[in-house]
């Protein structure tokens, strides 16, 4: 799948919150590129409405959304638009939670989903540290839905559709190292709070955010663990086969010992 252009490279994106004007070109580009349906009722929602939704405007057919917050800055009320989509974690909890490998992290960066392997247990939805994954509750044959970071575009060296459509430079895309360096450069240049959301959250994510307003005022999950989530289960799963075999051996020994010279029970 990988082309010469992207071989050995890993890509990520930066969302520069103060630069976003809320035009929602990204949402439209996402719909068009991924062939996602429009819902007549949800089409009427404003960015302000979406900020009040439990899911911040992410539905099975809406993989990215813009929500509007009205925080205070220097004593006056201001407007900020925040784009939501899958964070494409470096060590994705969804992929480690999936028992049939329906989720996988591509070396180029995107975390993608394959419905043909999915059983529909929804453990991924609970495991996701940012509650991104949606489920098609209304379908007889439902699957999970989330941003795929336009994986076919990314592996062929193009940027995701949303990034391409952004007219203000609020979305910056490139190789992981360049993107992180750009985020740091912008923070040093001034006007931002000194925190790159996603640099260490959930063990590091492929999508980073910088902002001039504290993240917790815009419904970011700032209390998320910085330890990669898969690490919580890795050692447990690694020990399991040994515990199993050891315990079976102990049981077999006890069985033989305790049954010696006795009539077998039916």
């Amino acid at each position: 799948m990988t082309t010469e252009l992207t071989a050995g490279k890993k890509f990520s994106a930066l969302v520069d919150i103060p630069r976003c004007i809320g035009c929602e070109s990204c949402s439209v580009a996402c719909k068009l590129y991924n062939g996602l349906d429009w819902d007549e009722e949800r089409k009427q929602l404003t960015a302000l409405d979406r900020a009040a939704e439990p899911n911040k405007g992410l539905w099975p057919e809406d993989w990215t959304s813009i929500a509007q917050y009205n925080p205070e800055k220097d004593g006056t009320q201001t407007i900020r638009f925040v784009k939501s989509q899958c964070f494409h974690c470096d060590e994705p909890a969804c992929a480690s939670a999936c028992f049939s490998k329906a989720f996988q992290k591509l070396p180029e960066g995107p975390v993608i989903y394959d419905q043909s392997l999915c059983v529909g247990c929804r453990y991924c939805m609970l495991a996701c540290p940012f509650d991104i994954i949606k489920f098609e509750w209304g379908k007889a044959i439902p699957g999970c839905r989330k941003c795929q970071m336009c994986a076919p575009r990314v592996v062929s060296g193009e940027s995701p559709a949303c990034v391409t459509a952004c007219p203000t430079g609020a979305l910056f895309y490139g190789e992981e190292k360049e993107v992180l360096a750009e985020a740091k450069r912008r923070i040093i240049a001034g006007g931002y709070i000194d925190h790159i959301f996603g640099e260490s959250e959930a063990g590091g994510t492929g999508w980073l955010y910088i902002s001039d307003i504290p993240f917790e005022e815009m419904r970011f999950r700032t209390d998320v663990t910085t330890k990669p989530l898969p690490s919580y289960t890795e050692s447990y799963m690694a020990a399991t086969p040994f515990i199993g075999v050891g315990w079976a051996a102990v049981l077999a020994g006890l069985y033989v010992y305790n049954n010696k010279g006795k009539d077998h029970l039916d």
Binding site: G120, C121, R122
Partner: protein, 391 residues
Amino acid sequence: METARKRWTFKMTPWRGVFLLIALLALAIILVRLVLGLGATTNLNDQWPWGFWISFDVLLGVALAGGGYGIALIVYVLRRDKFYPIARSAMLTSLLGYVIVVLGLLIEVGQWFNFYKPFISWGHHSVLFEVFWCISMYTLIQVLEFGEIATEKVFKGAHKFLKLIMPVLLVIGITLPTLHQSSLGGLYYEMIGKLDPLWWSPLLPPFFLVSSFFVGPAMIVIETALAQKATNHEAPVPVLKGLVKISAVAMLIYFLAKIGDLYVAGEIGNAFAGTFASNMFLLELGVGCVVPLLLFFGGLCAKRGGLILYGVCTVAGVVMNRFNVVLTGMSDYLNRGGGGYFPAWTEFAVSAGLVCIAFLVYLFVADNFNITGKHEQEEASFARDGKFITD
């Protein structure tokens, strides 16, 4: 035909009729779920992907069926022969419990026809992978174990073979539940920061394992009390007393570990915070551990009444624990952006229907097979059939 009618019986009683009606209602709802999807038959949503079916049918079902592996360990491996009279019925109940769990899971997952995918596409980093493999293998093992009883009556040719491999089945059949009972707790490792610290702990797997072990005898006490009425098979009090003793010791260890764990995590204060979650936590530990421990160590478990009370409290405690992990302990996090979840009546009805199906199958098996393990009865039943087998 004459002999066939004699060999299979199922006596219809009013209670069995009620079970049958609820089971039929559940089957109808399951049909709707298959055609219209989970959205039409449950109140689950994107904030609450797991709800009543996962907590009741799966987490609780597996825990309450824990009496099977516990009794197999005590009777067949440790050879405490005095508990043998209840071994067969306890293991049958466990098998039925697992059949319910597997059926419940098939209805619960979105793409049920893909149920076999983890067998061929190994997501072996997932705790759920281990749970899936162990539960499916263990259900198969239990079917074979029951096969040893069933072949006393049907497919008699296989009886000798099953008897021969019984030790292997028993050893694997105790190992697998030990693994998946604890792994059901391990599923919630990944919910760090989401699950209330009153329940989230690095010790979740051992907590789930030990609670499934001590709830086993409690279930057996209740089951035998119920079965006594339905099948006239009375379990002797000393046998139940001995089981409850084992259960109470395990519960004491669990209780002390739970307190110690909270203390180390610095969460003791939160247990008395007066919130809904903390009150549920106190209720769970109070009814489920403190009361049964006082009953036992206060010497009140000498008679059938005390034993039954011990059983009811212990089972209630484990019921609350599993619901608290899946629902209560998660609600602060899952509801923080608005929304919420309360099970739909159809969710209750399907779970009730599955339990009724298990009751009906149990009664059918109890009517038709020798689950008391008494040889006199076995011979009598063969004599009635006019067919003897020589061993």
